[in-house]
Amino acid sequence: MNLRAIQAIYVYEMKRFLRTLMESLLSPVISTSLYFVVFGSAIGSRIDQIEGVSYGSFIVPGLIMLTIITQGISNASFGIYFPKFIGTIYELHSAPINFLEIVIGYVGAAATKSLMIGVVILVTAGFFVDLEIMHPGPMLAFLVLTCLSFSLFGFIIGIWAENFQQLQIIPLLVITPLVFLGGSFYSISMLPPIWQTVSYFNPVVYLISGFRWSFFGLADVPLGLSLLAIAAFTGLCLTIIWLIFKTGYRIKS
């Protein structure tokens, strides 16, 4: 293991993040605040409590998930795509490091960034609504695992993408709809039965449900299934990463 190389990549990526700290943190904070104003106050005041939780509090876990999923993907995909785009990837190829070390460096930094943003949103949410976290341990575990798995996923997109359009297309066409329709802003039980059934095919439902359970003890799906879903998704991403490593797909000519 070339630990110094992992450290070098990690620190370099974090510095890139810190250079744009204000933009990186400000935009999620502002958009979260807007969601609270729109959904929490304007619309939320007309929505009844959901199983004893005020609507404003109810959407907090979903909002955090929405942000860390999109941030994890965009940070990691951009992190590895940018060197490919500007040509500095030559350095990674010619250094005495392997693909796994590159993945740890880039994905580790991207996951750290989205975790930081997640925590900032949680704190921001605390200014708007009363928050009580029923199961802090599992909450943290869900948070960290989601940051990691979606950063892995973003890394894969960054490797696959050959232009900026491809970099955007999966987050835009697949991930954002899945997250919005995954119960970020509502409980699946509020849907007509047919759409409830459709929702169970959306993997993000399981993530948000599990995460929300760690806050309020409320879940749309059994907790075990949520854990299985996040484990399966992480496993899938790791398998794809391993395949990329074995075949050299889109890394080397």
């Binding site: 110094r4 070098a8 990549i9 890139r16 500007i86 010619s94 250094a95």
Partner: protein, 313 residues
């Protein structure tokens, strides 16, 4: 001297079927400077890319410092520095950070004194806190060199290091290269400037269409360059070279109106021109004109490339 870089039958076929390296073999001794000379698209960059890990060879093998570049890539790459042909730098990063990053990638602890020395040597110290996008093209190239040197490589690849750079940088670069050679670093540089090969290389390898056409000591090449040809135009055509002139190995032009005499300006016994001219007069030949021509490295190079193209045609 032991070999530092050993390339054996190295092949590279790209996905589109283009064969960029056709079984290239080459041995480079420790501490020597080899100039890899060839026209655009000859396979120079592909060869360097295959040795440095940028592209995976399709066949054959290569060792650097005795380590296979594919199977023992960590050991092989840890002693290699690469200055790529294209300028590629993270535009928003500070010079000193990008240089430190390179050292980290090679698994080495930060070394402030070394970093300062290398940056000073490349006249980058004053610019160390500038973002790389604020630098001129020549300065950016210096940064690439600093990044390649910061992990103290034993083998340095310079891919077209002086393409499009100013005279000052070229001179600085040659100075750096000589300094590295003095430390025993092996240097491989690709170029299509023959003067560059003449100025700093110990040996010259000529590559074209993925094949090494020649590897020769620069001095031996220079000696070949010392050869000149004297063309003697005759006032009246002749049918054959007179027997009295047989010792001079003269070539008669097809029209019979000119003779060519090959000689070496650095020859031990002089050029023989005075004796030849006397002998010509004694043979009763009247001369109408004289020209001398010299074969330059450029001509040798162009000749080799042309021969190869005629062979494959």
């Amino acid at each position: 001297m032991k070999p530092m870089v050993e390339v054996e039958n190295l092949r590279k076929i790209y996905g589109d079927g283009f064969e960029a390296l056709k079984g290239t073999s080459l041995t480079i001794e420790e501490g020597e400077i080899l100039a890899l000379l060839g026209p655009n698209g000859a396979g120079k960059t592909t060869l360097i890319s295959a040795l440095c890990g940028i592209t995976t060879p399709s066949g054959g093998h290569a060792l650097i410092g005795g380590h296979d570049v594919v199977r023992e890539y960590r050991a092989a790459r840890s002693i290699v520095g690469l200055v790529p042909q294209e300028i590629a730098l993270e535009p928003f990063e500070k010079v000193i950070n990008t240089v430190r990053f390179s050292r980290g990638l090679f698994g080495k602890a930060p070394d402030a004194a070394l970093t300062e020395r290398i940056l000073r040597q490349l006249s980058l110290w004053d610019k160390r806190n500038s973002r790389t996008r604020e630098l001129s093209g020549g300065m950016k190239r210096r940064v690439l060199i600093a990044k390649a040197l910061i992990h103290e490589p034993r083998v340095l690849f310079l891919d077209e290091p002086t393409a499009g750079v100013d005279v000052e940088l070229r001179r600085d670069m040659w100075e750096v290269v000589r300094g590295l050679k003095a430390q025993g670093v092996t240097i491989i540089l690709t170029t299509h400037y023959i003067e560059e090969a003449e100025a700093i290389a110990d040996r010259v390898a000529v590559i074209n269409k993925g094949e090494i056409l020649l590897v020769e000591d620069k001095t031996a090449l220079m000696r070949r360059m010392g050869r000149k040809t004297l063309r003697i135009d005759l006032a009246a055509p002749i049918d054959a070279v007179p027997a009295a002139l047989a010792d001079y190995n003269l070539e008669l032009a097809p029209d019979g109106d000119a003779l060519s005499y090959h000689y070496d300006t650095r020859g031990q016994d002089g050029t023989g021109i005075t004796r030849l001219l006397q002998a010509l007069a004694e043979a009763g030949l009247t001369l109408s004109d004289l020209h001398t021509t010299q074969s330059s490295l450029e001509e040798i190079f162009v000749g080799l490339v042309r021969d190869q193209e005629e062979e494959t045609a």
